[in-house]
Amino acid sequence: MAAEIARWLTPWEPLYWLIALFAIVAACYVRGLARRRRARDVLPAIAFFVGLASMYTVMQTHVDYYAQYMFFIHRAQHLILHHLGPFLIALSMPTAVLAAGAPLWLSRGMRGLGALPPVAGLYRVLQHPVISAALFVGLIYFWLWPSVHFTAMLSARDYWLMNLSMAVDGLLFWWFMLDPRRPGATPTTYSIGLRIIVLWAVMPPQIAIGAYIALAPDTVYDVYAVCGRAFPISPIVDQQLGGLITWIPAAMMSVVATLILLRLGFVHDRSTASPTEPAVTASRPDERQTV
């Protein structure tokens, strides 16, 4: 039993810097929670840790082995890296807790880095609604392009480039989407309506590629036959499952995010209507910085 657990927890391809990064972020967050001691941190903390742990699990445990040798598990891995994990992390608005927990030099350093003109400029470009949507969908299409996918699954370097690019883009996209501040509070805080348009714009291309894969009569990705599968499963079933994962839950995330944004818009409106009430509940404008 213990040996089995150890086997599952052992990274298939350890990236020590990545493990260290996750550990540092988790440690800062826990320290931040302990320092702030606020009851309203509890729910966001759960979202944050579920998001962080899910991203870690699909990259640095034995799950990664199955993701390398089964197409549908690879798709589930990307669903977590690009959609679910970053979504939960962005939803938890972790900046304030992280800043409270990080050593002073680190939080100052990060803030200083974010304020550098090239970094801030690049961030504004990446978070431009059109670029953000194009990157979000473009990366899915790029890594699923059969010849690109083939090399990515064969080359250790490209494999990690693929996974990490999905994770970073997922964080950027959902950070942009779920920003709770009042529109216009920062240059990258766009109006709720515009954000909903972007959310719905990224849905059809994801449905299209998911449906294409799920309904393809032949093998689209032969690299899984080339490398061997982790356990015997019909290649076409593997592909159909992978297509469905790309198609349905990925697109559903846009619907979930839309509901959250509508609620956020409602909270903004209500606090505008009664200016005597302090607008603290949902917006917390002071607590969020661009990273």
């Binding site: 504004r124 670029i131 690109v148 064969l154 032969d222 080339v226 061997g228 982790a230």
Partner: protein
């Protein structure tokens, strides 16, 4: 000024994306197979050959190497692939053929002992060598080339299937990874690739 900056970066970004796409799609492929030069590491392994001797990759230096993962009880892919390789080698002249080794690595050491491997490879010709090893040795080699294998449930007679890679990995005389040949590639296309590779390294 502040408003212009993102727009200028937007243009730069769009140009970079276009350039990247152009770079990815450009260039005629030289071989019929997938070129894996620089993508995969040089050949390295510690295994046992069909005579029961411990061997390593260096022992096959100086010749082109075709590496295939399989098992002798394999009902379809392995014998078919070996037959395709035999047919491809058959169309080469003797001296060219002698510069090629075919390494059949069994990922089923439980059933494939050296005698059994020798019996299997001898039916395909003198250029074919059977190799196998401990699970640890086999896993090290398969992981190095990002392939895997797994065992199915045994039936009443104790027979079980083994899932394994279906590709032929081609390595140069010094062990450099060169090509990855998949099942769809024809015998003629494989022969043409081998000829081209040998001309290049000579």
């Amino acid at each position: 000024m502040n408003h212009r900056l993102p727009r200028r970066l937007f243009v730069v970004f769009a140009l970079a994306a276009t350039a990247l796409l152009a770079a990815c799609s450009g260039g005629e492929p030289e071989y019929n197979a997938h070129d894996i030069e620089g993508v995969m590491p040089d050949l390295a392994f510690n295994l046992t050959d069909e005579n029961g001797n411990a061997v390593e990759a260096d022992d096959y230096d100086g010749r082109l190497k075709l590496l295939f993962f399989g098992y002798t009880n394999c009902p379809d892919i392995c014998p078919a692939t070996m037959a395709r390789i035999r047919a491809a080698l058959g169309g080469l002249d003797d001296t060219t053929r002698e510069n090629i080794d075919v390494l059949f690595v069994s990922v089923d050491p439980e059933r494939d002992d050296p005698e059994r491997l020798a019996q299997f490879t001898s039916s395909f010709g003198p250029r074919f060598a059977g190799l196998t090893g401990s699970q640890e040795q086999l896993q090290t080699l398969s992981k190095r080339y990002r392939v895997t294998y797994g065992y199915g449930e045994p039936n009443d007679n104790g027979f079980y299937l083994v899932s394994h890679s279906s590709a032929i990995f081609v390595f140069g005389p010094e062990g450099k990874a060169r090509l990855l040949v998949n099942q769809e590639q024809s015998v003629d296309a494989l022969r043409a690739d081998l000829k081209k590779l040998l001309e290049r390294v000579d």
